[in-house]
Symmetry: D3
Subunit: 326 residues, 6 copies
């Protein structure tokens, strides 16, 4: 359990604290007066803080490496307007000492509730084949476990623990709200696509102490990983209707909507077209939300144009805040 | 009133009929045995039919031109497996004799009901400025009248009388269904955008006897026509909040979503992004519906891949028909 | 067995022949003097020929459909400078009566020799895992059987029976000739990629009576089909080194070299980069060869610029013929 | 009135000065020995200079913000090779104390002369409708006033006070010189387009203390702003020939020449094509001129290749200087 | 000398004529009643006309081929609304019998006058090196001779005899009119570029009996051909200033303005930028002129939008005709 | 001769050295205690090192400039973890004192051996015209001399002395290995293209003390420089077969394979297509090799994904190292 979070440094000014962190960088530097010291960066889910260790750091240096968890003892103080910590002790911390949720940002929503809502939609399926297909994934201990905690991205939209589930659930809700207006769409097939389209992300991304791509993620990508998982899972579900298999596989492969975004096929069915459009919309709206939050975090009023948003190649405007601003 | 429609030719084989048509093409040709005859193409909303006029066509030729309405008398017969009509009389027909709805395809839905539903959404607006802005358009006799009959396109999606209203109404419904999941979006502003975004089409398109672009449509385009109409209409509504004006104008200008589709600005607000995405989706789904219908009209089963769809650069599959096919 | 081929029509002018064909189109038309007749197009691997059946075709019409094989009896004659055939009999022909090789163009090379050469390269692999992986495909009765006859494309390069094997074998040879100059490349891994990269084409293409895409080919594509086949095949080969699996999978996914050509990943390893470049080269050289042949077939000398080649967006020049031309 | 300009710092080394500046940045920092100080950046049209205020800055801090004008008293000195100023006093300065021309770069030409030349061309118009249209803009106090001072861009070509007028005048001159060679072009219509095409920039840009985009500029853009201004202005000029209105509107909308540059329409008339080409040329030549000047300002000889010019994606060469260089 | 032109057929209805033509196509066809006849297409600079030769054509067939000149005797008559000619005689015609100007469209202007004007500009050059360089081309008998008759294109802008000279002369005039506004530009260098930029077209194009690309034109292109001609010509002019050589070479290489238009370099000097922009403008204005003429030739009023112009990806409007139309 | 290389600094810690370097940057800075000193950067082919000169540097400053060679005497010491040198003497060094190979990275292979191998291939040509053409370049003292030392690029692939020859030789070898599989290819023509395609680089690049583009390189480019050199060289070889000239010229012009890479023509012959593909492959493989080396140089294991490689728009994986890693 972690008692001290970086965001609370001001409350501990000039006090001594003991806590756990991710050691995000570590350098040995020369003191001006001769000798060496450690220049460190510590992180938890609330931010990052510089640290210095001036003496007797040989053991610390031997046991701790960038990217691992550490337990430290030190004194908080302010330097050039920012808080930092001068360490007297630092040691490697085992994962058993750690609650990973303290070190990565995570969803604001209750994972169990989200999971139950998602399973509820599937339980109500009339199509038994789609139902057993989706549950084969959700009830798979390894897959289901990862699905509940995975982020949806390394950065950009939904880049937090539980982000994948949160993204999928919103998408499923929007799909269900939109289906009544498009009679060509098979609603259960669509929801199946929404739940499985990003399942490859649980192997594309790693989120232990920081978010990153796995080697398999870079070489194969979540679209093809998902297709591979589907093929493997289907072997245990045979006999499974070949037509349903093709339609589900097609939704997975085409959901990025364009070749240049890594989809090897363009959406060709009503479900694939709708899924791809709403998935793209969800990502854009979530990006926008993040940009609006960033403006506030940077001390802006939030009612003017944002900075240039590179991923969307334009600035954005929070219209509600703009209208509310006197 | 029109008693005979081209689609009913089989019922009148070898009979004489009298009816009105659009004269879609007219050629004077040489008879093999010497002398001339008229080779004509007649059209109404149910299809097209070849016609021949062998004798005494001087008066007809003097009064009738391609693209006008004509009243004809003639005999139906079958030639090389297709019905055609041999005319004994043909004369120019005034628009007063004509119900334009007989000559252009038109919406399957009740225009009055659609119009009432649309007005109902606006009546319920809490924002009085947006309410009087939208009604300034809908209650404008000329604009409102055109809005109720205009097609939404020259070809492709919603290319029929009432198509604009039908397109807008579906879009408004989908917008309203989607808004609850995106708290950043101002629902009334979004619906305002949905109702006004294509208003320029009533001047971009002409639909008297066939669908075509006006010169203003080609030179200015419906996006900028709409912006011009907005600026003109606002003069009578002053004082009108400048911020609302900018936000509505921005939705109109950006709704095509990309520069290469003729939008001079990319969507930058939550409402503009949502409107642009759902408008694009609506057009794609409607295109798809039309392609599926075309397959059936071409005598295919409808459960296989369609022909290559040029506007979407891919073939399509009607997944429901595919699954239902034994 | 087929005694008469379309290319030999001139030798049978005004004679009666009996033979098998693919019925590539069938229409019922009206005779000018009343009544109906059949207008047909017959095909075999040497070309196409028009046919007419003027009388007593009711049974023929009932049993024969476009795309099936037929047995016909008729008289050859010349009409407007082209040979056609007037049929007295036509009936459906079972596949058992047919040697498919008579109806589709096929490779000039001996399939057994090519197959043996390909297997020989694999037999010599030092890497036992790659060896058993490749043989798991080649020795699979269904896959191996299809591999030996499949074309490599619907049209363009290697669009003939055995074309896939011919394409792969040339590619393997060029890979092996090039490897010595690039020490970063693992030769056996590269050859594995060359043999498996297009394996999905055996399910993407259909080649029974004409070359076409399967529905799975259009919806999934040969790249992802191949990846799916690999995943399924690997289940029976476990334990299989995970690293090798990722490298092989990556070569398959990236071999088109660009997103816009349907590869969901760009080549990132020495083997993937080399394979993708040489595969593209092979296709271009084979296209060029086909264009040069087409010029000769069209009665040109072959030593000047070809017509515009759409697939390459340029005309071509057979430099050897150009130099040899006096 | 401003007595001291930043470019003259060397002449005042170790002297005390009193003058006005734009306060372009302001930070409160910690002194090493404890306590705080102000780190400031001051600007005028000749450059920028760092400033420090070590003591008694509470009142200054309360009244002055980034972007406002300030009056300061301080001592010039050199630090690390650059001049800076140590302030004893700083207070907010009202616009009434300021001549904005001292703080922004401005045109080298006489605005009144340019204005008179431009009006002279319009006075000579034979087409009364175009004449009263253009004068309706030029004689509008608010529009005309802004037109005389606005820059033509935030950065790049003509980014200085009076830059818009200077750009337009050169463009009008080149248009007039070119017209004789293109008989299809209506010269007065062309000059009308040249004068009005960028009129929206007076609302797209703000130039009070620094050049920036307005919110309306970012959301609507100068092309559509201009079209809106035209529509509003025409209401007071009715009856105005509809054909002329479409042609002028079309020139405004299409003058960027390509969709990806924000034009919703491509140029389709002789005047629109000529205007768009010459406007693009003018901008390129002016950019080039600025790049050549920058080379000299950076201490280069000016006779070699410039640095890479990002906006043109190439380096440039001043050919006259290159030839003159021995 | 040619007495009869195709455009005059109506005046010779049912009369016999004797004249020369280009034989643009020749086919041997089967008569319905047995035997063969010749189906021919004849052309001169005023148009094309179908011809038939029913009997005794063996000698004609032996001596005449597509693309050669022929002398024919025959009877004019009207068939299906078009004039054609029934030939009694046809023989090969030598070039000595022919005035090539009768068979290809050619410039409306006097070639000698244009040539003199062009030479006059060069004679006035102050820069002796540029003067002798340009004259080395113009006074080269082979080059100068070809320059005076070459078309500027195979189709599109200036596709007629003398078109190259006409295009260059207009370009030179516009360059000279524009130079005064751009002091960075060396006017004589610019005019040198204007005169030499397209000189490669005299080897890229062939224009004997019809306009086509040479093999060298397709393989090397007029840009690189021109550069090669410059290098060869400079050998005889040594010593020639290296800097001038680079600047002239650069104008030639960059004058298409973009890589995708076949320029291996982008324009980097004031002269190259101006030349490239005005050359592009000249081509667009000339294309537009041709499209306006085509509308009139197709019997349209010329005051409405033209058909879609593929080479410019838009329709066009003749604004002067549009305004003049009541 | 150079006794001390920068990479050997550790062996000379706290010792005095005397050696030659390239002076890559030079700045005069203010000492904190008043007065000035020189802050310098020295370079040789093994790396770069900071230098300081605290006193009596007036003569050094007067004679030495950035980019020239210098001879220095100084003391090696470590500062903030890096070696630097404190100079007591520095003077300009003439090129006669210098072996350029000490200052630029150069090929690992023996230039004489490479040269002999290349010449050997040409000596064996059966085609005498191609043989004398290639030798006209190789035996030209100026061209041949530069060919043996030129780098193949400013940065990226083969950016070292001898890199051009090394690149060409590998390309020739791969060409020769590939030719047997493509009977349409004339092997000697292909090798001629491989040897001459980049010959323009000897004038496009400068490599005296650092690698850079010449002005001619930027304005004309190595493709067109090579074409110019070919035209000039051919004048001395006449009579030379025109067809061979066109084919060689075409290979040079088209070898970049795409317009956007600066080729004015696309490859249209078997030799041009093969050359362009293998040249591109060679460059990619060499880039990859360099990226793998960079990973090791940066202290990474080399068995994981590399950093993002901008020139290839992807990361890379050294598959052999990846497989070998336990």
């Amino acid at each position: 359990m972690k008692d001290f979070f970086i965001a609370d440094a001001a409350k501990f000014d000039n006090e001594s604290v003991t806590s756990y962190f991710v050691l995000s960088s570590l350098q040995v530097r020369e003191k001006k007066q001769g000798g060496q010291f450690l220049a460190l960066m510590l992180a938890d889910k609330t931010g990052t803080m510089e640290a210095r260790m001036w003496d007797e750091f040989a053991d610390s240096l031997a046991s701790c490496a960038e990217g691992c968890y550490v337990k430290v003892q030190g004194q908080i103080s302010k330097y050039q307007g920012k808080y930092q910590i001068t360490l007297s002790k630092m040691r490697f911390a085992a994962e058993s000492e750690i609650d990973a949720g303290d070190y990565q940002p995570s969803t604001r929503y209750d994972v169990d509730e989200m999971w139950a809502e998602l399973r509820g939609y599937v339980s109500a399926f009339a199509n038994e084949d789609l139902k057993r297909l989706v549950f084969a994934f959700l009830d798979d201990e390894e897959i289901g476990g990862a699905y509940r905690v995975a982020p949806a991205a390394k950065s950009l939209h939904h880049a937090w623990l539980g982000g994948l589930l949160e993204h999928v659930l919103t998408l499923v809700r929007v799909c269900r709200a939109t289906v009544p207006f498009y009679p060509e769409v098979d609603g259960e097939l669509l929801v199946t696509g929404a739940i499985l389209h990003d399942i490859g992300k649980i192997k594309e991304l790693a989120w232990k102490s920081s978010f990153s791509y796995t080697l398999e993620g870079q070489m194969i990508g979540h679209i093809s990983i998902a297709q591979g998982m589907l093929r493997e899972k289907l072997i245990g579900l045979e006999p499974f209707p070949a037509k349903l298999r093709v339609l589900v596989e097609h939704m997975i492969l085409s959901h990025h909507g364009k070749y240049e975004f890594g989809s090897p096929k363009l959406p060709m069915t009503p479900e694939a077209i709708l899924l791809s459009a709403l998935d793209d919309l969800e990502a854009k709206m979530q990006n926008m939300r993040a940009e609006f939050a960033k403006e506030l975090a940077n001390g802006k009023s939030g009612s003017g144009m944002t900075e240039w948003v590179r991923s969307m190649d334009r600035p954005l405007l929070n219209s509600k805040a703009f209208l509310a601003d006197e």
